[in-house]
Symmetry: C2
Subunit: 453 residues, 2 copies
């Protein structure tokens, strides 16, 4: 009757090496966005159930994990709490709760797990981290430009070089559909078909549109325009799109936004990566303005995406609060960095730099004192130092260090103690050196530096 | 029909200043324990319900948050998952799942929220962080000594100086009770009474013991011994305890453990803080050996505690795995540090060091470029830089910066641009300086340094 020791379905244990990688990426994201004045926010894992229901559509409602009501008044099966499903609804709740206390331009990042009762599949989990960065309170395109610059900074600092920031605008898409002669009632259908272009190809997109009631003429015009822009530079693409939607007010405003984002981004880190892509639709969601998505060469799917959504954050306030945000695909970034070996040695490191051997019961206090000395390190570099807890044969302890990937073993026997020395064994080459005790940390720090360089 | 914007009962939003304080403490804890070779572990928020039930006693079972089973096969009201209730059961599950892959001496720290459906009250929440550090696989007292040293390092690095590490031993307590003539069936009762000594005083402890069946003679002997040790130094206290339990095997072994912990700690950071305290009982839990608790002068309750528990971690394996751990009271540490103003300026800081003003629509690209320049900082110090997103009057922007606590505002008008300069306004004294653009970051970094010093 043994209980399973696996984690719950679709959820994961993160062992030390996983946690180090995750915290490294989270650390870079946080540091970069804090540099832009974004501030960290955290909300509870569980929300009152009425805070969440009805916010994610019928499908979303079904995927919410619900928590049983406790106590005597509870009807059997009644749920009063639910697990966080995304980070936008909690942020909107916080914006409403602290109305007046938060700055006019509240800029927050939030990096926390969310839970969805999806069918688990490869790379898709029931508990996963979202990493959302949003700026509220302004409709200015400086916001879009700074978000894209910060996202580009994050990716570059993580070691991505070859990424593209695809940029489009929901109102431009609407104008294009209008201009192509697609009825308003078919905009959603047409966008869904368009969204599949990457996967099914342009002919199938035309087929799907006409099957759903878009005229062949409109579908052909649309596909001709949008796919004709491949390889065309940003300025020329915008000119062609402008010609196509000429006389459409929404289209003109959207084009002005896009031109402004390009102009503002020109001198920033995102500049070289931004590419106008009129096929980008970003689902049917809540976006109202510019939309963007980060693509990496040789990688299906994106590393993040977002856009402007001016009608959502005010949901609990009953008023409009303009907002623009980007959600970085933390889980996917981690997978790609792992596959590509992009983590630095400081992350892919052993649990300790030194193991202090422990083979003489009478010398244990000195072993612990040596460990404390070594931890202080040298030249401003501290060392992680593990003590072999049990008194045991030296050979066993060298083996333990090797298995753990710990590169150095420090040994103090009676002889070393009498001479004020420590023997440092370098496991990589089996070499040993007797060094003065006060210089042991420095010896290791110096050697680590060499082996890295 | 407005939905409440409050967090769920007993749970908290952490606004930016809260998150910064929390992450600072978590960062210190992690850095110190990593220095001792402890490694980070994270487990899912939800566990299969059978993993948790029956592990925390009847009372605990009632406080577990249960998650409704989803999908078609689910009976109404059936729960299949439950929220993490502590960090020991998940660690034990991980130790069993990765048996063979984990090192013999698996040393982990885990800093994650847990959820308990307790009645919320002041300082007590339904979602709160636990911070557990445990070393498994060894019965050696070097483990206790290193845990105490690391905990002392954490507290000292956080700025606590006046703390005491109370040290006792479960087997010594048992031996004392035996020697005093308290029957084994009354040990639990006697320890519960003893545990209240701080609050109710020694006479009430005797009263409570005798009311529950302990003889007056035994109760008086016990209280006389234990409270007679106040102010007695460690060596003398151990001698008196030894005299009291002479001839008791368990007692002798326990005293040997305590003497060893004291000897091993002597040269370490914990040394001056450790005090033998035979009144420490640490509840009735799962401890089997040394127990300890960290007390701070002028503070009721503890900042952390722990001990050896050799029978628990193997619960899923059906075998003994020795373990010793400490749980730091993260939430309480945060409260005390807040009350005592112990957070450093780097934590209690403004969201940005500089606000770049934005008052000329034609100059927005330059405003963003200046912000990017300033972020690079100077002399190895980077700057957090916010851009005022909307084009607006300068006065409004100065006011915004002041409200946000941002100390500097950088202004580039047409005049500054022509001269290759930036005007930096220091809000603290209202002073303004026109500095060369390339030197603006350096000017701010230098001035920040002065104002701190």
């Amino acid at each position: 009757m043994a209980v399973s020791t696996k984690p719950a379905r679709g959820m994961r244990n993160f062992l030390p090496a996983d946690v180090r990688r995750r915290q490294y990426v989270i650390g870079v994201v946080a540091a970069v966005f804090e540099g832009y004045g974004f501030e960290p926010l955290e909300t509870p894992a569980a929300e009152n159930i009425e805070t969440l229901t009805g916010k994610y559509g019928e499908e979303g409602d079904r995927l919410i994990f619900k928590i049983l009501k406790r106590g005597e008044g509870a009807t059997a099966g009644e749920a009063d709490l639910a697990l966080r499903y995304d980070l936008t609804v909690p942020m909107s709740r916080v914006v409403a709760e602290y109305r007046g206390a938060l700055p006019k331009y509240f800029k927050r990042f939030q990096i926390q797990p969310v839970w969805r009762a999806d069918r688990p599949q490869k790379g898709r989990f029931r508990e996963f981290y979202q990493c959302d960065v949003d700026a509220t309170g302004s409709t200015a395109m400086t916001v879009e430009a700074e978000l894209l610059a910060a996202a580009a900074d994050v990716l570059r600092r993580l070691g991505f070089a070859d990424f593209t920031i695809r940029l489009n605008h929901r109102q431009l898409l609407a104008a294009i559909l209008d201009a192509a002669g697609v009825g308003r009632d078919l905009h959603g259908t047409a966008l869904i078909a368009l969204d599949k272009a990457d996967k099914i190809g342009r002919d199938a997109v035309v087929g799907e549109m006409t099957a759903r009631g878009v005229t062949a003429e409109a579908a052909t015009a649309l596909v001709g325009l949008l796919f004709g822009l491949e390889g065309v530079d940003n300025a020329a693409a915008l000119d062609r799109l402008e010609a196509f939607v000429r006389g459409h007010d929404g289209g003109a405003a959207a084009l002005a936004d896009l031109r402004e984002i390009l102009a503002l981004s020109g001198g920033l880190s995102a500049g070289p990566h931004v590419r106008i892509d009129a096929t980008l639709a970003r689902g049917l969601g809540y976006y109202t303005g510019a939309i963007f998505e980060i693509a990496v060469a040789d990688l299906a799917g994106s590393l993040g995406g977002g856009g402007r959504y001016d009608d959502l954050v005010g949901m609990f306030l009953g008023q409009k609060i303009p907002a623009c945000g980007i959600s970085l695909g933390l889980e996917r970034i981690l997978v790609v960095m792992g596959e590509r070996g992009m983590f630095p040695p400081s992350v892919e490191r052993a649990p300790a730099a030194v193991l202090v051997a422990n083979f003489d019961a009478d010398a244990r206090a000195d072993v612990l004192a040596l460990a404390a000395d070594l931890r202080r390190g040298a030249d401003g570099v501290t060392l992680a130092v593990e003590v072999y807890p049990d008194v045991d044969k030296l050979g066993k302890q060298f083996k333990y260090a090797a298995e753990r990937g710990i590169p150095y073993v420090a040994v103090v026997g009676a002889q070393e103690r009498a001479a004020g020395q420590v023997t440092v064994k370098t496991l990589a080459d089996g070499s040993q050196a007797a060094v003065p005790r006060a210089g042991a940390a420095g010896y290791i720090v110096t050697n680590m530096g060499h082996s890295r360089g």
